[in-house]
Symmetry: C3
Subunit: 228 residues, 3 copies
């Protein structure tokens, strides 16, 4: 862990945590009123989005969550959540800002997770898995806490695929001997680009065609259907 703390500078970790916190509070602010989320609820979602991914990463790696080893993480994420709450009125209709922030945050969490896993000696595929869990974990916890359908499970905007693509690039670059910093930057860039393009062009994975078509037919048709 000393090794990984050496590899990952505090400012990089805190930047990801802060981005996640702002993003979470911006997201949650949209639900105040509708779902009767209160100010505290918005702050909690900011904290969950900022710290959740890193905590899941550290639980999987069986290390004490780094966010609990100094006061800075919780101070940063709480401050970031407050900023997100204050800016919500300004940015709320600028959906593009939220998407962009989110894309960069996912990329950073993925890069930090994969790098830490590799630094602790995990093989390539588990390291990639830890990176993806770190990237999508905050959003997963957010959805569970808010009682929303888990976003990454549904037809949508290649949330987990973007993270997996970036982390795969990082692992590959690590194998061929590229240094940690440029590899992490490549990971963030690839993740953010896939994610932003997916949202911009509304790309999604295909559903399982046969099953889907049968279901839709059954649900929408008034004509009796002979089933196999």
């Amino acid at each position: 862990m000393t090794e990984s703390q050496f590899l990952i500078p505090l400012w990089a970790d805190l930047t990801a945590v802060g981005l996640g916190g702002v993003q979470g509070a911006l997201f949650a602010s949209g639900f105040v009123g509708q779902r009767r989320l209160d100010l505290l609820g918005v702050a909690i979602i900011g904290i969950v989005m900022g710290l959740g991914g890193g905590m899941i990463r550290d639980l999987l790696l069986n290390t004490t969550p780094v966010a609990l080893q100094s006061n800075w993480y919780l101070l940063t994420v709480t401050g970031a959540a407050l900023v997100g709450m204050l800016l919500a009125g300004v940015f709320h209709r600028l959906n593009a800002v939220i998407v962009a922030l989110d894309a960069v945050a996912i990329g950073m969490f993925g890069a930090l997770g994969t790098t830490k896993a590799l630094a602790l000696g995990l093989p390539a595929i588990p390291a990639l898995f830890v990176g993806v869990c770190a990237a999508v974990g905050g959003g997963l916890l957010r959805d569970v806490f808010m009682g929303l359908p888990v976003a990454m499970m549904h037809v949508g905007s290649l949330y987990a695929i973007a993270a997996a693509g970036g982390c795969a690039v990082l692992v590959t670059l690590d194998i061929v001997g590229v240094e940690a910093v440029p590899a992490a930057i490549a990971c963030i860039a690839v993740t953010a680009v896939i994610r932003v393009l997916a949202v911009a062009f509304d790309i999604s994975l295909p559903e399982q065609r046969a099953l889907y078509r049968r279901k839709v037919a059954v649900e929408t048709s008034t004509i009796p259907i002979i089933k196999p």
Copy 2:
């Protein structure tokens, strides 16, 4: 961990676990029939409320859950859940009993969590965070298991704030050199009083006014509404 086990006597831990177990079963009994929860489901919720907070605390602290190191925890919580199930018929309308039990249980989990975190050398703010997670973790897991909206996220009765207040008192007393036992008692008292007063006087945090008003306006169209 030897140190923290020295600091936290088994009877204190088991009392909190037992209170949580009774409280969880009382709560879950109210949903039998409605949500088709069976006897086993009620028992599981009792166990989750009794052990969930401590398990989350120990996962965050990266120690083996203390509840798995002797047979007593699981025996106590299971027995407590059975007591809660048997008493549900008697106490079900005495909502005050459930609120009071809950307030004391939250206070105890918060005190035990913060104390253990401080004993393991965590800084003040992370120790407070671990205490709050230990206090609200059981209820959070309960809500997720039961498919309910997560209680602490919604406009309500200062659930997490009560825990945070108590744990902040404990951390402050620890910094100024007060011994563990009186500090823990102060934590429990502050938490329980805030929580009970919040329920009694129906106090809640403000929502984000601007956003809320805009939403309500949009949703209810142009007809003026007189609010209580």
Copy 3:
């Protein structure tokens, strides 16, 4: 952990992981279309069902998840999930296959969890608890990820009881000195038989009678009730 890795051969672990992966993907395929789960969502549910129980087991035991220590686990579970997706069209109406696979998978996860807990020196009751958590954990995570009511909480088919019965047999056999392999086989057999019989004969636990009857009476009454 070296000890437990000696006790549990890799092929046994990978068989359970593979069964879980196939089963998860079969289950999730039924929801494509209805809940707009995409191909990736189905694969994620397969991975969650295959690895979730073992991960929860290892988190509770405070060991690094064994699934992250070699590439094989993630390769196996991903392959199994793909097989489950391809076979879904064939097996979807053969509900018996899904039930049988599920029963054996639960038994294996319970046996592996209890054995590992005993090998790490946990007392009997916590070892049983870890086994049950390993057995039902994958299904629990699946339901949370899919936004479904948690299956084991509701009146149904003795899901957790089947796992507890099998794990209790294993712990008892361990206490009386039976070797690990026959004890594990007995655990799997007992779990699978209870589970399959419960589904076949639609056995469930009683609900809390008194409460249930009162609620139904209130809900179905034709007399208007004035609520406070």
